[in-house]
Structure formats: C-alpha cells, structure tokens
C-alpha cells in the first residue's frame, strides 16, 4: 500500500482526528508556541493572578506590543521572501521624527501621517534598490542604511525631540473605540491584512516561492527584482506606521529613543514565530505569537517585580525554555 494513501486514510480513522486537523490548520510550530505562551500565563497568573488577568492588564500587554507587532509582521514577510531588514528600527526613528516635524509645521495630523508613511516607503525603496540592483547582501545593505537613516533623523531634528501638541493626533496613542484602545484596533487590523496578504494572496504565495527557491521563482516568470524592491517598500511603510504609532504614544518625535533595537526584537519575534533566516518559511500567526510571548514576559516580570538584573536572566531563560518546550512538543506530535 502506498504510504500516502496510508496517511490519508489514517487521518480519517485516527481517533484523534479533530486534534490532528487542528494541528494541521495551525501548524505544529504555532501549537508549540501556544503551549509555551500558556506556560508563561500559568506562571504569571499564579504569581499575580489578581492583576495579571484583569482586563486592564491584558490591554496593557496589547498596547505594549502594538509597535513591535507591526514590525514583527513586516519583518516576517521580508524574511519569508529571503531578505532581512536591519534598518527597520532606524526607519521608525526617521519616520517618527518626520511625522512630528510635519505636524509641528502644519498643525495637521493627516500631514504627519502622510509624512511618516511616505518617508518610510522611501526608506524601504532605498533599501530595495541597493539590495536588488546594487547586489549588496541584505544584512550589509540594511546595516548601512540603518546608520544613514539614523544620521538623517538626527540632522533633521538636530538631535532634539520634537513635541507634538495635536490632541487629534495624540488620540491615536490614547483613544479608545468601542472600549478597545485604538492602538489595539490598529494591531488587529494590520494583522488581518498581513495574514491575508501572506497566506492567501497571490503575491504572498509568490513571496514564499521567491524565498524558498529563487530558481523556481525565476523559472515561473515571477519578476524577482520587482518583488524584492516591493518587499522592502512594504517593510518601510510598515516602519512608517510604527513610527506614527510611536509618535502618537509618546507625543513626540525622537530619532533614537524608543526605536533603537526594535530591529533585533522584531527579528527575534519573527524567528520565534517560525521564520527561517534562509527564507521561504514563516507565518504571520507565528510572528504574532512570538510577539505575544515577548509581551507577556515583559509584563509579567514588571508585575512580579523581578529586580532589573534578574529580569535579564529570566527573560533569556524563558525565551529559550519556550523554544525548548515547543521543540519537545513538536517532536512528540
């Protein structure tokens, strides 16, 4: 009997059929992440259950991960497509400054938003062109533009933080709609768009082909160069969105504070979520779970008031433990 028939028939007769189907739908890796997340929730829940499970705290977690969430998703797309965007934190710094300056100059929040998104897109375009047509390795290229974008942000702002006094704009950072913070809405909407894009759209599927096997992509008539540039523009626009949210949250634009190191966190979340740096592998759901794990960790450690130096220890260990548990779970399934 052929093995595949065997496998097919097995699914139907398998007593654990429903479970198996769930696993297939979510993917083993995501299930493992859920398990890891559950363990963290149990730990912090049992230590500070009173506060931890309060709706207010859960929203805090959501607010805390919005910006990282957006970047982890866009980074996932970049990594799936076989690239890497290390300049993303610097792009956030640049766009947050330009958003603040645009609002300061015009008083119009809309102008700020446009400025942020357009500058982000331009920054992405620059990355895309250097990588695709300059044939520079993505790591080197975006490390280079990271310095360049940061430099530009400093020069634009002269190193000062730029205050935003528009209440309308600040509403993005603190407002609520139907009881949920606007930031959380934005995260949810972005997530749906990103998920549909990567998992369901033709372009998204082609990105998997591009990252998974560029030879196939080339022979299938996918315009590899245009895709690459497009992916980096997307990453830049997402960084622009993140920059706008950062400006709205802090009420100011600052070249470094709040954006430095975001690239590493975004890459961590994406890899935690199942991305392989070789490309061709990764999902939006995974990235979000990765972000959630990081968010719960940060929140739980503040709640349980772990001393600073031990927080580092705990954070590192829990990160690794989460993955080891996930791996263990994965090998058993």
């Amino acid at each position: 009997m052929n093995s595949l028939e065997l496998r097919a028939s097995k699914a139907q007769t398998d007593p654990r059929g429903a479970f198996t189907r769930l696993v297939e739908r979510l993917g083993v890796h995501n299930i493992s992440l859920l398990v890891a997340l559950a363990i963290l929730v149990v730990i912090f829940g049992s230590l500070r259950g009173d506060v931890f499970f309060s709706s207010r705290n859960l929203l805090n977690i959501g607010l805390g991960i919005t910006i990282l969430g957006v970047l982890a998703m866009s980074q996932t797309v970049v990594i799936v497509g076989g690239g890497l965007d290390i300049a993303v934190g610097a792009t956030v710094g640049l766009t947050t400054v330009s958003t603040a300056m645009a609002i300061q100059a015009t008083g119009s929040p809309a102008a700020g938003i446009v400025a942020g998104l357009v500058l982000g897109g331009l920054a992405g375009l620059v990355n895309g062109i250097i990588i695709t047509y300059g044939r520079v390795n993505a790591v080197i290229a975006t490390l280079g533009t990271m310095a360049i974008f940061r430099g530009i942000a400093f020069i634009m702002s002269d190193g000062q933080s730029i205050a935003i006094f528009s209440d309308t704009f600040r509403f993005i950072g603190i407002g609520r709609i139907l009881g949920l913070p606007l930031l959380v809405w934005i995260l949810v909407l972005t997530a749906i768009v990103f998920h549909l894009f990567l998992a369901r759209s033709i372009v998204g599927r082609n990105i998997y082909a591009l990252g998974g096997n560029p030879v196939v992509a080339r022979f299938s008539g996918i315009n590899i160069n245009r895709y690459r540039v497009g992916i980096y523009i997307m990453s830049g626009v997402a960084a622009g969105l993140a920059g706008i949210l950062l400006a709205a949250r802090t009420g100011s634009g600052q070249p470094v504070s709040g954006s430095q190191g975001l690239e590493l966190e975004a890459i961590t979340a994406a890899v935690l979520g199942g991305c392989a740096l070789q490309g061709g592998k990764g999902t939006i759901v995974g990235a979000l779970l990765g972000v959630a794990i990081i968010g719960v960790l940060n929140n739980g450690m503040i709640l349980t008031s772990v001393p600073t130096f031990y927080q580092l220890l705990a954070k590192g260990s829990l990160l690794i433990l989460a993955v080891v548990i996930a791996e263990y779970h994965l090998n058993r399934t």
Partner: protein, 302 residues
C-alpha cells in the same frame, strides 16, 4: 599658533550632549582654537581608540565625558604620558592614586536632592496626606550617575516628609528611554490598582515625562500625579502645550555651559599654564509651568 582641542562624549545623539558639544565648540572657535569632537556611544574600547587617535592627530588638550568611570585611571595615565591637560565633564574620574581629574559638571546626588525637596513641597501643598500615595523611583541601575540622582531624591524626600513609609517607594526599572518609561509605569499602575496618587522621579526628563504620559493614558487626572525631571531636555514637550500635567517641573542644567567651561579652562591651561580648577559645578535652574513660558520657552523650543 593653531591650538586643537579634542572633546569626547559618551552619547552624542542625546539633546544634552548635542547642547554640551555645541557650547564647547562655540567657546573654542571664539578663542580661535580648532575643535574636534567624537561621540563614542558608551563604548569604552572606542573611547581609548578615540583618545589615541586624537593624540596622534596632535590635539593640545582633551575634555571627556567617559562612558564608564572605571576608565578614569587609564585615560588619566594616557593624558599624562601624552603631556596634555585633561578635563572630565559630567562624570567625575580619578587617577589611580585617588586624586581627582579636574572636573566640570554637576553634583548628581545634590541635584537629586533638590528634586526630592521640591517634590516634598508639592506633596505637602497638594493635600495628599489622606490619599493612597506611592512613589515610583524610575531608575536605570546600569547608570551610576542615574542611581546617584534617584538616591538623592529619595533621601531628601523622606527627610522632608519623615512619616512617609520608605516601603512605599517602589523601584521601577527602565532602560533610559521614554517609551520604556511609559510601558513600565503603565504596568506599575495596573499592578497597584488601589493607589490613587503617584509621586515619581527619575534620572532625567525621559523617565518622568514617560511616567506622566502613562498616568494620562490610564485616565488619571493631572493632579493625581507629580513628578520632577532632571536635565530639561523634555521641558518644551512637557510645558509647551500649556495644559496641566503631572510633569510638574524639571531641574534644567544648561549643558552648553559645561562644554564651554571645560574648553575655556583647557585653553587657559594650554596658553598660559593656568592651573586647572579641581571642581567646577554648575547649578540647576528649576523650570515649572509657571516660569516656563516667560523665561525658558524661547531658549528651549525651536
């Protein structure tokens, strides 16, 4: 002939140092000297490399904000070997035998103590005695000068308000950025739902303004919080809107003066052999919503 002065600072992108280096440069150019500066981004190894490179480049004197006070003896020794005068700015450093390298800056503990005193005044005037009050000490344990400032603030407050329980001071770690201050303070608020009123201080304006934003975002009224910052780098943001806020004031230090003074005494020493003063302190100016618009707005906002 042409005198070249070197200026090494630890964090070139911070508004504080932007102003400080600016002040130094202006002073050097006014005196007809050439000025070179380098930002070492908290990197002790790069600090040494930069020092060597500047000496190799022929500078006649160096002012330095060290990223790490333990570098003191090595830097001091190198300056001695190169036979050039050395001034430490902002962070004090010492020779191996314990003598201090000539210093220009502030007294971190004393500035913190002034924050504590002012907070105590606000506390007593605010009629909070009957309320559930906690203090959040927002601190970066990795930064020595930061811990000095918070220590000063805490001790001065407790001295002025003896019946305040030390246990009601919560230590809230942050990473020196405003966004992080918002996040950690937000969580701290949630973790202490019974507390109605908050006092907070931090190493700098970033920590205090972040905490004020967290209160605001969580729906606290401006008069349910009081915080006083240090360095004035966020004063324009905090007071510029003219609205009441839990950010009640900041101890502004004009870092441009530090830079300028350091260069002046270096040049005096190089040109005329004037002995470098061991310590030159500058005093903070206390900015509040009341005096901001009249006295500081023009200076601090662009």
């Amino acid at each position: 002939d042409d005198i070249k002065i070197g200026y090494i600072n630890k964090m070139g992108e911070h508004p504080w140092f932007v102003a400080e280096v600016g002040g130094a440069k202006k002073a050097a150019e006014a005196a007809g000297a050439t000025f070179v500066s380098q930002d070492v981004q908290f990197d002790s190894n790069l600090t040494i490399t930069t020092f060597d490179t500047m000496v190799g480049d022929g500078v006649k004197g160096i002012a330095i904000v060290v990223p790490d006070k333990a570098l003191g003896p090595v830097i001091a020794e190198k300056a001695k070997a190169a036979k050039i005068p050395l001034v430490a700015v902002d962070d004090d450093i010492y020779y191996q035998d314990g003598t201090q390298v000539p210093y220009v800056g502030m007294n971190a503990y004393n500035i913190g103590a002034r924050v504590g005193d002012e907070l105590a005044k606000l506390y007593k005037a605010g009629g909070w005695a009957s309320k559930e009050v906690r203090i959040a000490s927002i601190e970066d344990r990795k930064a020595d000068t930061c811990m000095q400032r918070n220590k000063g603030a805490g001790e001065a407050f407790l001295k002025a308000v003896p019946d305040f329980k030390p246990a009601n001071i919560l230590r809230v770690p942050y990473d020196n950025t405003m966004v992080n201050a918002i996040d950690v303070m937000t969580t701290t608020l949630t973790a202490n739902p019974g507390v109605t009123n908050w006092i907070f201080y931090s190493c700098n304006d970033d920590g205090v303004l972040g905490a004020a934003r967290a209160l605001e975002n969580a729906g606290y009224a401006p008069d349910q919080g009081m915080g006083i910052g240090i360095d004035g780098s966020r004063a324009c943001e905090a007071f510029g809107s003219g609205k009441p806020s839990a950010f009640r004031g900041t101890m502004w230090l004009n870092s441009a003066n530090h830079g300028a003074l350091a260069v002046k005494i270096l040049l005096a020493s190089i040109k005329d052999g004037t002995k470098l003063p061991v310590q030159s302190f500058t005093d903070p100016e206390y900015i509040t919503a009341d005096n901001f618009a009249s006295d500081y707005k023009a200076k601090l906002c662009h």
